[in-house]
């Protein structure tokens, strides 16, 4: 439990780690609640309210998630921007990465959005319910071949990822034989493929299920799909896997042994519920005092749009965020996004141009701003972005930039003409700065 000061700066980090950053004034408001109150506000937020203008495509038409390519991404991004329950939305994103399903393999925005709704409903709830629901979720059944696995030809795809990526970890306490036996237990789900329509009529067909005895983790029984999931959840390696993985989304360094064991106990005793774990992680000193994390690309985008209050006004965010390395509904593989690789020269350029696109609708026009000295210009640009915390090295570089850029103009008239341009450049530099891209 973190016992240090909990002020604006701590609230700002908490909002970035557990949501999509502060709207203007939000960090101050959260800080006034104190740490416990702030965490409770995130984990027990009450019914969702969507705040701000509804999403539009670039022609100004209202935007539905399934009506065109890229609209799924823009629709979810908008939810991140406007939600009053940022942690629920952030956990939906966590589960999307954890149970990474890509529309490349599913081929249906409708199924993907249904899965998205499922992840959101279970966002802070029971991991057991989430796992059981996902196991029979149409998008997942198509993605990992569950609907094409039957007694005569069990498909190991889901069985393997269930253990390797979802519940236990690669090579942690299961064998190839367990994979094969779990695949048999998971048989029975099916759907029909209709030409021109796709997969329809998902159902459990007992005639396709292998009802024979299986041996999994040394236990013998006529296991079915629910048993397959519960066997994993009851496996002694599962709590540690879950705690380490969940922790890694909020804190960059792995938990110390006693912290981890405490969280495992909490998970077991709490009936595999996620909310108590999150409340413990969000109050842990490692989050508040430890090193920074790189913000995921869509988190930066959503955060900027929250701060600016402009809302989602184009479906182009799908393409822009893809260039920064994160296209929602299209994770690169079943293992999700590689957080280690969030930043390289290609994705940095993507982030820069994303920042530029977010700022473009509100650029300062020449003549619109009064001429002031460099430090005041820096303060104004920071205020425009909700006063994000910056290191002194960055503030110094920004001030020197503003001073030089103003000094390049040799007359007061030219300096006045340049003020807006300097201010626009400062906003860009702040939002694209390594300080802002991490938290």
């Amino acid at each position: 439990m973190y016992r240090g000061p909990f002020g604006r700066r701590q609230a700002e980090r908490l909002l970035w780690r557990a949501g999509f950053g502060p709207r203007k004034g939000e960090a101050e408001a959260l800080a006034r609640l104190g740490l416990d109150g702030a965490v409770q506000a995130l984990t027990r937020p009450g019914p969702e309210r969507l705040v701000g203008p509804p999403p539009r495509d670039r022609r100004g038409n209202s935007l539905a998630p399934t009506d065109a390519s890229g609209h799924d991404h823009a629709w979810w991004l908008d939810r991140m921007v406007r939600t009053s329950r940022p942690l629920v939305e952030r956990m939906t994103l966590v589960w999307h990465d954890w149970f990474a399903t890509s529309n490349v393999g599913v081929g249906s925005q409708r199924f993907m959005l249904a899965q998205n709704g499922l992840l959101r409903r279970h966002a802070l709830g029971s991991f057991e319910s989430l796992l059981l629901e996902l196991t029979r979720d149409p998008a997942m059944l198509v993605w990992l071949s569950g609907n094409r696995s039957e007694e005569t030809a069990p498909n190991e795809n889901y069985a393997r990822e269930l253990m390797e990526l979802f519940t236990l970890g690669a090579g942690k306490g299961y064998t190839e034989r367990d994979v094969r036996e779990q695949a048999r237990a998971l048989t029975g789900w099916r759907s029909d493929f209709r030409q021109g329509v796709g997969w329809v009529d998902f159902r459990y067909d007992p005639a396709r299920h292998d009802a024979g005895f299986k041996r999994v983790f040394g236990r013998r029984g006529r296991f079915d799909w629910k048993d397959a999931c519960r066997l994993c959840l009851e496996h002694p390696a599962h709590p540690e896997f879950l705690v380490r993985k969940l922790w890694s989304y909020f804190v960059p360094e792995p938990p110390a042994g006693d912290t981890r064991r405490g969280l495992e106990r909490l998970y077991r005793a709490g009936g595999r519920r996620i909310r108590p774990l999150l409340e413990a992680i969000l109050r842990h000193p490692a989050l508040h005092e430890g090193p920074r994390m790189t913000k995921p690309p869509v988190v930066v985008t959503a955060g900027l749009l929250r701060t600016l209050g402009t809302g989602v006004r184009t479906e182009a965010w799908a393409e822009r965020d893809a260039l920064s390395g994160q296209r929602l509904f299209y994770p690169p593989s079943v293992a999700g996004w590689d957080e280690e690789a969030w930043l390289d020269t290609a994705t940095f350029r993507g982030r820069w141009n994303g920042v530029a696109a977010a700022l473009a609708p509100r650029i300062s026009r020449p003549g619109a701003s009064e001429p002031v000295q460099a430090p005041a210009l820096v303060r104004r640009a920071r205020a425009f972005l909700g006063d994000p915390t910056l290191t002194s090295a960055t503030t110094g570089a920004l001030t020197r930039f503003a001073a030089r850029a103003l000094a390049d103009a040799d007359t007061p008239a030219r300096r006045r003409a340049r003020t807006a341009s300097v201010e626009n450049a400062l906003r860009l530099l702040i939002a694209a700065s390594p300080d802002f891209q991490t938290c």
């Binding site: 960059p252 090193p291 920074r292 994390m293 790189t294 930043l343 390289d344 020269t345 290609a346 940095f348 350029r349 820069w352 141009n353 530029a356 696109a357 700022l359 473009a360 650029i363 300062s364 026009r365 290191t391 090295a393 960055t394 570089a397 920004l398 020197r400 930039f401 030089r404 850029a405 390049d408 340049r418 807006a420 341009s421 300097v422 626009n424 450049a425 860009l428 530099l429 694209a432 700065s433 390594p434 300080d435 891209q437 991490t438």
Partner: protein
Amino acid sequence: MSSPRSCCDEFARAAALRAAVPGSGLPAVEAGMPLPAGTGLDRRSFLLRSIGAAVAVYGATAVPWRLLDEGVAAAASSAQNRVLVSIFLEGGIDSISVLFPGSDPLYRRLRPRLALAPDTGTAFAEDPRLRWHPAAGGLSALHAEGRVATLPAVGYTRSDQSHFTSRHFYEVGATSAELRTGWLGRYLDRVGSPDNPLQGLSLGGTLSPALAAARVPVAAIESADEYTFQAPGVEAAMLGRLREALAELARAPTTDPALRRARAVAGQSEALRGALVPFAADRADPGSASYPESRDPFPRRLASLASMLAAGLPIRCVALSAPGQYDTHNDQPTALDRGLRLTSDSLLAFQRDLEARGVADRVLTLVWSEFGRRAQENASRGTDHGAAGIGFLIGSRVRGQLIGEYPGLAGLDENGNLRPTSDFRGLYAAILEQWLETEAGAIIPAAGAFARPSILR
């Protein structure tokens, strides 16, 4: 592809098939059609720092990315190689159209509606029977300077009439449906390095099959001028200061690992953007000022190529497609004129650019097509598939003389097509031996069977 569609179904299908990403989801190849060279080659994309653009690299499964950048850097620091640029005129084009026999009565009889007036275009100095098509002014100008060797009837005996198959033969350098490596790919396998994908460079989204290698990596790049940073509302005169500030932000020391990494990447990105400036086809650059304005990427690609070559990037073989679609079954004059003019003007600008940059002596350009057209025009103001096509070698070192004579319309083959007076395999062998200084026998099957023209001055 141009619209309205004037090409045949087979051309459209072949184009669609080749546009697919090799190895993933290729439409079925019909029985008897060869698979394009390079089909199924492992393909990965990454940002090559040395040119600052996303590059698709083919066939480098075993090489870690960072070593590819180092490989490029190492290759760039060694001696400058000669470069071959292969430009494909897609669809089939021949000398009856490009170098037309204006005063031949047979020409008017065979092409009553398509024939050009005898006084249009410019005279072809080497053969008084022929004239340059009016749209080929750029080629005509280069020819007058002795920088073009013309192959008025290049091909092979019993020419295959399928776009797909005949193109494949040219790409693999043999009349074999089975070969799966390109002729330039095999050359690179022999002389190239295991970690420099730029040695074989396709300009355009996908790998050119002629470059498909078996051992060494090759690359495809869309354009080098895509790595831009936007700065809305910032005046141009301030961009230098903006970049300076970004570099300064990136330099600040920190003990935090994530912040350190973010700053390092910001710094690399800014340095990369700086390194890129010479490669963007800048219209203000005097070297590229004379390229035609067009929405087609061809002139921009040639401009980028010229700047990459001048910058000393380790490029050996380049392949790209010319603008236009020469499968002119209908309304030939419109499509031919448009494509040929842009191609010809761009080639002239490219040569001038190379000369201005002082690298023209290192570059040889080959222009080819999969076959020619039927001498007799069809009922739709077009022509059907023929046999011998037209080819050019362009460059400062080229011996600017005919390679093979113009065969004339009196001695057409049994299908009514031009007979070849030079063989593409002999041409390839000559390029390999005289320009690339490599033994052709190791690259072109049965190379000994084909006469080599003398191609250099």
